[in-house]
């Protein structure tokens, strides 16, 4: 097994010790482990974020495989369990806390209260709005939310916007799944990259 010091040395060599320590000391929440959240959690683990709080109520299905991090061997298992296991294969020294439940305004504050940044990676627009409203009004955490990443539209339309000091929004803002457009692996991964990078940059500029 690779030691924590070996992983630290590799990350330090590419960035710097202050960067490594900042990210190692960071807690990031990921709400929803679908196309966005599964890729976001993996990207954050690879960056060396020290603690991840990941939440989802769902199990892996065949319909997920075209765009989510999971593979066929994961079908039927809880997404939280699979992600915890997969993250441990990437970096076993990341502390992963899982919440296998539906996140709503009455529990979001408690689940994510110790997080520096929480990334909203839900599917339904009502759920996205509910979580963002709950976190911004009930906690002091910074929120990275997502809106608009469906289809095979131009990937360059997906951007990260700073809405206010504690609120960032990633996506193209318009292409949703409401009109039957599906989510596609490359475009949802672009948006996931934006979300994960926004969280890392927030931690590095705090």
């Amino acid at each position: 097994m690779v030691s924590e010091a070996e992983i630290e040395a590799v990350i330090n060599a590419r960035f710097s010790e202050p960067v490594y320590k900042t990210l190692k000391g960071a807690s990031v929440g990921v709400a929803g482990l679908g196309g966005l959240g599964s890729h976001i959690a993996v990207a954050l683990a690879r960056c060396g974020i020290g603690r991840l709080v990941i939440a989802d109520f769902d199990t892996v299905e065949l319909t997920n495989i075209n765009r989510q991090f999971y593979n066929l061997s994961h079908m039927g298992r809880r997404k939280t369990d699979v992600m915890k296991e997969e993250i441990s294969k990437i970096n076993p020294y990341v502390c992963v806390e899982v919440s296998d439940c539906v996140i709503c305004e009455s529990n979001a504050g408690a689940v994510f209260k110790s997080c520096d940044v929480v990334i909203e990676a839900f599917d339904k627009p009502e759920s996205k709005a509910e979580l963002v409203n709950a976190l911004l009004s009930q906690t002091q955490t910074t929120v990275v939310a997502s809106s608009g990443m469906a289809g095979f539209y131009d990937g360059n339309e997906i951007v990260t916007k700073k809405i206010s000091n504690r609120f960032y929004l990633c996506g193209d803002g318009k292409h949703g799944i409401e009109n039957g457009t599906g989510l596609t692996a490359p475009r949802v991964m672009i948006c996931a990259g934006h979300c994960a990078l926004a969280a890392v940059r927030i931690m590095l500029t705090k």
Binding site: D123, L136, S146, L183
Partner: protein, 64 residues
């Protein structure tokens, strides 16, 4: 004058719920900030914006 999503509008004194309706947003799929602070949904019908306020309405579309 009030700034709504970057545009100057004659909406000073309006309730947040009136501004939402003016733009045709669904209140269940948005987040509203006034001068950088979130306005809880429970206050949409009583919170009036003032001259000079900066209102941002973020509408969410599905997918994630």
């Amino acid at each position: 004058m009030v700034t709504v999503n970057g545009e100057q509008k004659e909406l000073a004194g309006s309730l947040v719920s009136e501004i939402i309706a003016h733009y045709g947003y669904n209140r269940e799929t948005i987040a509203v900030e006034v001068n950088g602070d979130i306005v809880p949904k429970s206050l949409y019908d009583t919170f009036a914006v003032s001259d000079g306020d900066n209102v941002i309405i973020v509408g969410f579309v599905g997918g994630g």
